[in-house]
């Protein structure tokens, strides 16, 4: 029972991180109908930026700030310089361009930093506080929950209560009409990419240091987890993605906690196949109208 509670807490912590990474995917998907396969590589980029800044200044917080600002710039840059110039009627082309970006970013990181794992600093201890004999939350877990909650509330408030959020939603759902009404749709797209890159980078910064450390490929698996979370939510729904992330986190935590080998990647593959075969539009989708 002790172990179960411990694994649940651990799964929740990892799950909310996957959820926020998944939110980054949803942000771009809603605006462009594109699953951004470069999200993982972009997050690896901001991760190394945080690593370098923390190395230079000795401060975790400077690294964190650098990751967020760097993410905003990187995302906006990629949208303006690359994605905007791809024929919008060609869906595969945008996916392929994102895949090219994966190769470029990972290669550049490999050339600058090499391909070995680099241990990263944590701002708080990972030793859990105990209630009675039961180890529960660690200070780092609490930090993770606070950051993720801040991201989610921030995004929710922005999209529902601000002018710019309304414009972004309008640009995503009815680009032509929004354009007629004076919304700069291109700028809203740039903003979506910038926000997504920042959120994805932040999520990677929360999870990678708790595993093997920074590596050009350290976010590949995180991307798959987050993609699965977003697919469970239907790729379109922020709330569904959060629930999906928590499900993924819990399942992975239980499986790796109760089996002696690390089979997370196989389990996630099985979940993904299962969800896609049974509910291709996500667990929470109502029957969608087919567009002919």
């Amino acid at each position: 029972m002790d172990r179960f509670i411990f694994l649940t807490v651990d799964g929740l912590t990892r799950g909310v991180i996957f959820a926020s990474f998944g939110l980054a995917l949803v942000l771009i998907f809603r605006g462009t109908r594109l699953v951004n396969f470069a999200q993982g590589a972009m997050a690896a980029g901001t991760l190394y930026l945080a690593y370098s800044v923390t190395q230079e200044t000795g401060s975790y917080w400077a690294g964190l700030a650098a990751a967020v600002v760097g993410g905003l710039i990187l995302g906006a840059l990629i949208e303006r310089v690359l994605m905007r110039h791809i024929d919008p009627s060609a869906h595969l082309n945008a996916v392929i361009a994102a895949l090219g970006l994966v190769l470029v970013i990972q290669a550049v990181l490999g050339i600058i930093y090499g391909n070995d794992f680099r241990a990263m600093k944590l701002p708080f201890s990972r030793n859990p506080y105990s209630i009675g004999d039961q180890p529960l939350l660690s200070p780092y877990d609490i930090f993770v929950f606070c950051v993720v909650l801040a991201i989610m509330i921030g995004l929710a408030v922005m999209f529902t209560h601000t002018d710019i959020g309304l414009k972004m939603r309008a640009a995503a759902f009815a680009p032509d009409i929004s354009r007629l009404l004076g919304v700069n749709v291109g700028r809203m797209l740039t903003l979506s990419w910038a926000l997504a890159a920042a959120v994805g980078g932040l999520a990677a910064l929360l999870i990678v240091p708790t595993e093997f450390g920074a590596n050009p490929h350290s976010t590949d698996l995180v991307f798959v987890y987050a993609f699965t979370a977003a697919v469970i939510g239907g790729l379109d729904s922020p709330i569904g993605t959060v629930i999906g992330g928590v499900i993924v986190g819990l399942v992975l935590s239980y499986v790796s906690g109760y089996s002696d080998k690390d089979v997370s990647a196989i389990v996630i593959l099985a979940i993904l196949i299962g969800v896609l075969l049974l509910r291709p539009n996500g667990l929470f989708a109502s029957a969608a109208a087919r567009k002919v």
Binding site: L99, L101, A107, V108, F227, D262, L269
Partner: protein, 368 residues
């Protein structure tokens, strides 16, 4: 000439025979290392040809063809080692493992294809991405059979004695690889020109319209995936044979993306483009590493650049091609030749699904 223009099968067969004879003659002119590279091109071509048909003709993007090649490679290794232990020799030791590689990859491809038949673009791409990411875990989970991170070594016999005692193994394997690649190209070219090929393009362009015409959309997609997986399995088997080893590190996400790049650079949907792509996949890393040999770097810088430089160039080429010339090299060749192919099947080949709107003139004629 009129005969070859009207008889597609005869034309393809003649081309295949000419290509095979030319390639066999070429192997006599090449040194061993170049023959090894030629065999690698052949192995890659099996996979990229299958992939270009899948992406270009049915519009299904698979990032998992590296995984399917790995399936073929592991199947080849296990079967060849088993046969070697049982004392099998000769041609049997090549043919049976290759057949097993094809069949196992086709079965795995069928399973993915079943899921893929229900899915639109990004879902299938994500699913196949998850597959390729799971490979290292799969090999370590069943490390008793698959050898974990180290992988397996593959039992391979020297070239047949009938060719002469000192006949180089590399040349013999180049023959096998070229024969396999030519066979794959021949079969796929016919498939593309067949009733099934038209069904694939109909499904790609409009699923609802295809269904109204009586095409079984799901079955068409699954069969296309199985065919494509089988060719990838064959390519993987040949790669295992010529490198005499198979390990998860060789079939990373980057490798799968390389295959996609080979397809895109050549021109999605073009079988001829797959040839360009596979040549590039072998030539570019070779060029970058020989370039690095000539420039004086410190040891650590050289180790970082090694491999990564090729990755970087691949990525940049991929982005450059997709932004500036989405129809790839073969599309440029067509433009330079200044003519559109005459046969209806070939015409549709020249039209990438995603770029139909960009080339209204070719869309019109493909509707004929």
């Amino acid at each position: 000439m009129q005969f070859f223009r009207t008889h597609t099968l005869a034309r393809h067969a003649a081309l295949a025979v000419i290509a095979l004879v030319a390639l066999v003659l070429l192997t006599y002119a090449l040194p061993s290392f170049r023959n090894f590279q030629l065999a690698t091109v052949g192995a890659y071509l099996c996979a990229t040809a299958g992939l270009t048909v899948l992406i270009g003709q049915t519009g299904q993007l698979s990032l998992g063809h590296g995984a399917l090649m790995a399936t073929g490679a592991y199947s080849f290794a296990l079967m060849a080692n088993q046969l070697g232990e049982n004392g099998s020799t000769g041609f049997l030791l090549v043919i049976v493992p290759l057949l097993v590689a094809i069949v196992v990859a086709a079965i795995v491809g069928g399973l993915i294809g079943l899921a893929g038949a229900r899915l639109a673009g990004p879902y299938l791409a994500g699913l196949t991405l998850a597959l390729i990411i799971a490979i290292p875990t799969i090999t370590t989970t069943w490390d008793g059979t698959l050898g974990g991170d180290q992988g397996l070594s593959v039992y391979v016999e020297p070239a047949p004695a009938s060719l002469g005692a000192s006949f180089p193994l590399e040349q013999w394997q180049a023959w096998i690889a070229c024969a396999a690649a030519v066979l794959v190209m021949f079969l796929l070219a016919n498939l593309v020109h067949s009733r099934f090929g038209r069904a694939m393009r109909a499904v790609r362009d409009d699923e609802v319209a295809a269904r109204l015409c009586g095409i079984a959309v799901g079955r068409t997609k699954v069969v296309a995936f199985i065919v494509s997986a089988a060719t990838a399995g064959l390519g993987g088997g040949i790669l295992a044979m010529q490198t005499q080893s198979v390990s998860p590190g060789a079939y990373s996400l980057s490798f799968s993306l390389f295959l996609v790049m080979g397809v895109v650079v050549g021109g999605v949907g073009h079988l001829a483009g797959a040839v360009w792509g596979s040549l590039l996949l072998v030539a570019l890393p070779d060029l970058t590493s020989s370039l690095l040999d000539h420039v004086d770097f410190s040891a650590s810088a050289a180790s970082k650049l090694d491999g990564n430089l090729a990755l970087l160039i691949f990525g940049l080429v991929l982005i450059f091609v997709i932004v500036t010339a989405p129809r790839g090299l073969q599309g440029l060749v067509d433009v330079i030749r200044g003519k559109v192919r005459r046969t209806p099947g070939g015409q549709a080949l020249a039209t990438v699904p995603s770029t139909t709107t960009a080339h209204p003139q070719s869309t019109e004629s493909s509707d004929v």
